[in-house]
């Protein structure tokens, strides 16, 4: 499959590009593979044909693949759980309900362990974070070429199937959580309490600029590390799958070796995707717990 591409570099680049829908401005020069140049006579809503175009679309563009897969997976999660919730009874659970109850009990235990306040939002939030991130990560186990190939058959130039390898997705999650952290910090401690927590420790009050700097960095680091950790892990994992997939373009011995490697990495990856989803969820709970607590 890699043979369709001019070089393995291009193959990798192709797999790392999102399907971006956005507006290209009037007079924009589009270059295709063959070196032809097309000048747009008016601003056009279109899919980006390469990374440069995606960049030039600016902020008001949408990664259609990330959105579609993440929303689809989220709906799958909510559908399954809603079905179990509707049938939830106090009798002997079976099948899907068993699984759902197992997950919910697991989340509930985690929340009870890390979150020492009362807030009806936190447990459902943790459940959503865990299941959604897990399902998005799970897409990593689909062989890297299957869905992009299917996409290219219906005319999609790019298809990145793992939403959590898109920083937009991970930052979307972590920034939403960050907003919640700020909201609850101010709600529980008051604006003054929250500010004093940032400014009057760890050093004495008169050194508040240093305190503010330290605590500010610590505060900003929360959403940043949360999203970058997930993104980095998934991106790296996906990259390794892509590199392994490159071997299928070589001789049959290399291809066979690639197959074994892909299997091994996939097995190992099951651990990583679960772990990353768990870490994301746990840190979300911990950050919200810190937001609820007076001085740590």
């Amino acid at each position: 499959m890699a043979t369709e591409y001019a070089s393995s570099g291009e193959y990798i680049k192709h797999h790392l590009q999102n399907l971006t829908l956005g507006k290209l401005p009037e007079g924009y020069e589009r270059h295709d593979h063959h070196g032809n140049v097309e000048v747009l006579s008016e601003s056009t809503l279109t899919f980006a044909h390469n990374a440069q175009e995606a960049k030039d679309m600016g902020f008001w563009a949408v990664n259609v693949d990330s959105m579609a897969f993440s929303i689809g997976l989220g709906i799958l999660f909510l559908f399954l759980f809603r079905m179990a919730a509707r049938k939830a009874s106090t009798g002997v659970p079976a099948g899907l309900q068993n699984f759902v109850e197992w997950v919910i009990e697991f989340i509930d235990t985690s929340v009870r362990g890390s979150f020492s306040h009362k807030n009806p939002l936190v447990a459902p939030l943790a459940l959503t974070v865990f299941m959604w991130v897990f399902l998005m990560n799970l897409m990593d186990l689909v062989p890297v070429d299957w869905l992009p190939l299917a996409g290219s058959m219906v005319g999609l130039p790019f298809l990145k199937v793992v939403p959590s390898t898109d920083p937009n997705v991970t930052f979307g999650l972590s920034l939403s959580i960050f907003v919640l952290v700020l909201f609850y910090s101010i709600k529980m401690k008051g604006a003054g309490g929250f500010f004093s927590e940032l400014a009057f420790q760890p050093f004495p009050k008169f050194m508040f600029p240093i305190n503010l700097l330290l605590e500010g960095v610590g505060l900003i680091a929360k959403p940043l590390s949360l999203s970058l950790r997930l993104f980095g892990n998934m991106y790296a994992g996906e990259m390794i799958f892509i590199l392994i997939a490159l071997m299928f373009g070589g001789s049959w011995i290399l291809g066979l070796f690639g197959g074994v490697l892909q299997w091994a990495w996939a097995v190992f990856h099951i651990l990583i995707i679960t772990l990353q989803a768990f870490i994301f969820m746990t840190l979300t709970i911990v950050y919200l717990d810190m937001a609820h607590s007076e001085h740590h």
Binding site: N18, T20, G22, A54, K55, M57, G58, F59, W60, A61, V62, N63, S66, M67, S70, I71, G74, F77, L78, F81, R82, A84, A85, R86, A88, S89, T90, G91, V100, E101, I104, E105, D108, P120, L121, A123, P124, L125, L127, T128, W132, D166, P167, N168, V169, F171, G172, L173, L175, S176
Partner: protein, 156 residues
């Protein structure tokens, strides 16, 4: 890494999912779990209680049984005693009745004897009179000698 409106779309999606989960997924399942937990706890407690009650009942049944046995033994002893007593009483009564009947018979016999003696006396008197008549024939007038005869009769 280039950021675009996907970021905002993701946030909105996320908020919607969390809201949905909080409203329609978490509460029903959690309440079912809580209710079941309570049900199981109640069931276990009831089982414990039942076991305890069973033990008590078994103990009570044993006590009752023992008591009943004791009572039965006592009743038997009393019944035996009473039976012996009754036999004794019956014996005494029979003996008394026998004695009474014997006495009555003896009295009867005595009376009969007396009566026989009386009639014998009369007959002897009559016989004596008849004998005397035969001997004296005309001389003796029964009418005139009735007093003498009566006196004789009394002496016999």
């Amino acid at each position: 890494m280039n950021f675009n409106a996907t970021l905002i779309g993701q946030s909105i999606t996320f908020i919607f999912f969390v809201w949905f989960c909080m409203k329609y997924v978490w509460p029903p399942i959690m309440s079912a779990l809580e209710t079941r937990k309570k049900l199981i706890a109640d069931g276990l407690a009831a089982a414990d209680r039942g076991k305890h009650e069973l033990e008590l009942a078994a103990k009570k049944a044993g006590d009752n049984m023992r008591e009943a046995k004791a009572t039965a033994a006592e009743v038997i002893v009393q019944a035996e005693k009473r039976a012996a007593q009754m036999v004794e009483e019956a014996k005494t009564a029979a003996k008394e009745e026998g004695e009474r009947q014997l006495a009555a018979a003896q009295a009867n016999i005595a009376q009969e004897t007396n009566r026989a003696r009386e009639s014998l006396r009369e007959q002897v008197a009559a016989l004596a009179v008849a004998g005397a008549e035969k001997i004296l024939r005309r001389e003796v007038n029964a009418q005139t000698h009735a007093d003498l005869l009566g006196q004789l009769k009394a002496e016999l």
